[in-house]
Symmetry: none
Subunit: 419 residues, 2 copies
């Protein structure tokens, strides 16, 4: 089946935004065994759009158009599709009703600009949009089924997964059978991971494609098979990988590290607190992004200045003077203080130099002390993470969450990054 | 001048990597006044490549092909270009010499796989590659100048900036002059923004293109001009927009809202604290992502549970019982408590229901109370933000920062979202 993508938007051409939608669409279609071979990206230009729709619809069985459904003058998809199909634009009643109820839900007035989103090519069928104002729509042109989808990633996600993929699936031959498994990994670099697999699993089946995706600092390892036989065989190799990588595998489920940590805390009925200096609330934020976090997280402390480390979580002033804010002694006292003040079971405490300013010869930018554990059993470790400020903060956050994950799993093995 | 891009690589199609090269190329060309209107991305497939080269070279003045220059079997660019131009592949002596010296520099042996990179279409001119093994090359086909460039970003950077852009620049008409201005806007929706401009600035110059980019929840408004005359005229329209939108314009500089708030605090030598329930540290994290935040931010409180609201920032237990955690009284006491505990000058406090669970009929998911201001001058407001958990949190964070920004600027006007 020949599926092509047509991405529209000046912002995609100018480099102002990086196109993540096409990767998402590709991955979703890959799950049902469809590989996209061609994608065209064009600016908001009516004639270009019309030309591409006509050209691509002659070659493709399915054409997915993404973007250009909004209320502003540079949103041209409906107009271009109408022109390409030589049909008039008409006010679609279903789309108009959706706009009315969307505005009602949001408590805003329906403007003429918004109403533009209900003008669709005659005979187009609408595709529901559960999270935004612009409905999608589909029609057949040159024997090609054309789906028009919104550029806002969240709206695209719903529409593709819940409305479009089910339709495409009904058209697929039974034999098609791509199967993808993913492992979320932390604490081993990409090239070391490749080397480990090459050396330790030399007989790796060539029917099981390995793909790596660096998630800064986690890595996603993807195993793709293209036949029922290979899919059966895959379980053996997944087990081999699990034996080889141990607790460096965070999960084989489609969840994030913080979701996993919240689940583990829920399962053991325990709570966590945080005392953050250089990460400035990022760890607390990662945890509280997870629905249900309130069961396991009561309080976090962002103690950026020395004075506040003493005032809020009882770090001894003399310890700060003697050892400096970025030290084992201070991070330990931060951890103990946060546990005492919050009555939580576990703690992650961090103090370091995120940079780009603030480094010294003894404590260069990237130095960070992390403390983690439970009352009476606090571990500490010093890391040096060479990276820009934002990636440094994310790396420290991931380290803290991973160390707590290992305690919650009662892991005995020492992770690579502590060796 | 019609410049088109042809990106090649299975990894670009599968979604395993996000294409950042095309954004880079677009931005570099924009600097010399060239806008790319069309980009085609295809898998590593010889016939597809040949078809695209033939098709695109008929329309474009310049075609930049990116990727497929490497040593492996799926690197097909030279072969495809030779086939499209109906020329033989020949061993290019200059390319071979480059490979020899590259291998010598790296201390590795020149393998037959690497030697493949010297086989180029007859009559192609090579383009130097200072950082990798694969030279680029160019030739003219269908009156279109075709540049073949490497997919490795670092190699592309050198080759584009130092070799290709200078060549393209010599072909440009003197008159070409694109100029882009950007405004970061908050508190007006995309369709309302369009409506306001349509209604209030009906004589908008059609030489000044307007582009909207929804940043959830901020919006970037982009004004593009294509002549010196229009660029001069733009300042008038920027002033009109500033008059129309007032403090809804956060900045006309390339910085984020949190960077702007940190700068304003630095300029006025003031400090900020946060007391966060439903945003769980996101506001503190947004501030501390900015280098230099330590001058203006000493402490933040993540008080997720009722007990911790009392224990850490002195919210009266009776207030919590009487009014509930999501109430004006509680958010006000959170703000006052955080100011007292941190000795900061300004505060943002938030308490709400991020969902998807926890809503009631009186206080549905999306309800949030925000308090902001200084000691003795605390403002409060209740919002209802219908969105998923993550976007709800980002929206609340942006509201809090924007409200403090307005105080720091001593804004008298009431923002749309408080009306």
């Amino acid at each position: 089946m020949n599926v092509q993508l047509l991405m529209t938007g000046n912002e995609l051409m100018s480099g102002d935004i990086i196109d993540t939608n096409s990767a998402f669409i590709a991955q979703e279609l890959m799950q049902i065994g469809i590989e996209i071979k061609r994608r065209v990206t064009i600016a908001d230009d009516l004639q270009l759009l019309v030309d591409e729709i006509n050209h691509n619809s002659q070659k493709a069985d399915i054409l997915i158009i993404n973007g250009g459904l909004g209320p502003t003058v540079d949103d041209l998809t409906a107009q271009a599709l109408a022109k390409a199909c030589q049909k008039p634009l008409v006010e679609n009643q279903e789309a108009l009703e959706h706009l009315h109820s969307w505005c009602k839900y949001k408590g805003i007035k329906l403007t003429p600009q918004n109403k533009k989103q209900a003008w669709l090519p005659e005979s187009a069928d609408i595709i529901a949009n559960k999270t935004g104002s612009a409905v999608g729509f589909e029609l057949i042109h040159n024997n090609c089924q054309i789906f028009c989808t919104p550029g806002v990633p969240k709206e695209l996600t719903h529409m593709l997964q819940e409305e479009i993929i089910p339709v495409i699936t009904t058209k697929l031959p039974e034999s098609l059978c791509i199967d993808v498994s993913r492992l979320l990994i932390f604490g081993i670099g990409e090239s070391n991971l490749q080397k480990l697999i090459d050396e330790q699993l030399p007989n790796w089946s060539n029917e099981i494609e390995l793909g790596f995706r660096a998630g800064m600092p986690t890595i996603e390892l993807k195993l793709t098979t293209r036949s029922k036989k290979a899919t059966k065989e895959k379980q053996y190799w997944l087990d081999q990988l699990k034996g080889l990588l141990g607790a460096h595998i965070i999960t084989d489920k489609p969840i994030s590290l913080s979701e996993h940590v919240v689940q583990l805390l829920q399962q053991s009925n325990k709570t966590l607190t945080t005392a953050e200096s250089c990460t400035g609330g990022l760890i607390a934020s990662a945890i509280t992004q997870v629905s249900g976090a309130s069961q396991v997280f009561e309080a976090g402390f962002v103690t950026y200045s020395n004075e506040m480390k003493s005032a809020l979580i009882d770090v001894n002033e003399q310890t700060l003077i003697t050892h400096g804010a970025v030290s084992e002694q201070v991070v330990r006292e931060m951890a103990v203080g946060a546990l005492n003040k919050s009555h939580a079971d576990y703690v992650i405490a961090v103090t370091g130099i995120a940079g780009p300013l603030g480094g010294t010869k003894e404590k260069p930018v990237g130095t960070v002390w992390i403390a983690w554990g439970a009352k009476g059993n606090i571990n500490t470790h010093c890391f040096n993470i060479k990276n820009n400020r934002l990636n440094f903060q994310h790396h420290v956050c991931t380290l803290g969450l991973d160390l707590i994950r290992r305690i919650l799993l009662n892991c005995q093995e020492t992770p690579n990054y502590l060796k």
